[in-house]
Symmetry: C2
Subunit: 140 residues, 2 copies
């Protein structure tokens, strides 16, 4: 049986490739789907929060958002009384893309979960959550 770290790398890599193959059909680059998927349910978040959830550095997010802004997918706005943070909103075009991306993620999750019972899927997710907690504690 393969090692855990290899299986994590491989399963993530395959999922990433599946999503990207669909995302590029609607004109998105590889870094954009996860951002749109987050904004789909958390529009108006500040950049630090988005970066943290997406497991990328704030500096990385800057360059992705810049491209998304140029492509007309998002807008960044300040809020009254806070000139330090920037809050990210989708345009109409961005929302359309986000809806499609959300569907793609959902569809490939279902694909990945084939040949498993519902309780196996739940067990897989539970154990992956334990893995995340274990490594998060160790990362400090």
């Amino acid at each position: 049986m393969e090692s855990l770290h290899y299986l994590l790398m491989k399963s993530h890599s395959l999922m990433q490739k599946c999503i990207f193959s669909q995302a590029q059909k609607i004109g998105l680059t590889s870094g954009q789907p996860k951002i749109l998927d987050y904004l789909y349910e958390h529009e108006g978040s500040d950049q630090k929060t988005i970066a943290s959830y997406c497991e990328i550095e704030p500096a990385t997010l800057v360059s992705i958002l810049l491209r998304m802004e140029q492509k007309g997918l998002i807008e960044r706005r300040q809020k009254e009384g806070n000139r330090r943070s920037l809050f990210v909103y989708m345009t109409e075009k961005g929302r359309n893309s986000a809806e499609q991306i959300h569907m793609f993620f959902d569809q490939y999750d279902k694909e990945a979960e084939k040949n498993m019972t519902e309780s196996e899927v739940n067990e897989l997710k539970r154990l992956l959550t334990v893995v995340c907690e274990n490594l998060n504690r160790k990362e400090k």
Copy 2:
């Protein structure tokens, strides 16, 4: 509960960060550990095979190997009667790094598997293998 694609991304990302934090202490960059870990048990593979196992494109491997060759970690050699493929071997220095990297992977796998029984770990690996098979079939 989080979605499967998010848990795969997060668990892989945390593992990657753990490994890289150790790898950089011994002078490695982020793309090198997985190559060395593969060579540890498969020295003498050609580039196409390495790239395939590591889930990266051959073109990406070229730039990683170039840097590893310059740092004196590996050598690439031709074999009698095949001037098309290049086969990758570790130097003494490369082998030392590979041994340490192999230990790091092992150590973080154990860390990730804490708070699980042995049968839970096996079940996790089995289900991840199913995920890989499902997505591999869909990727075509």
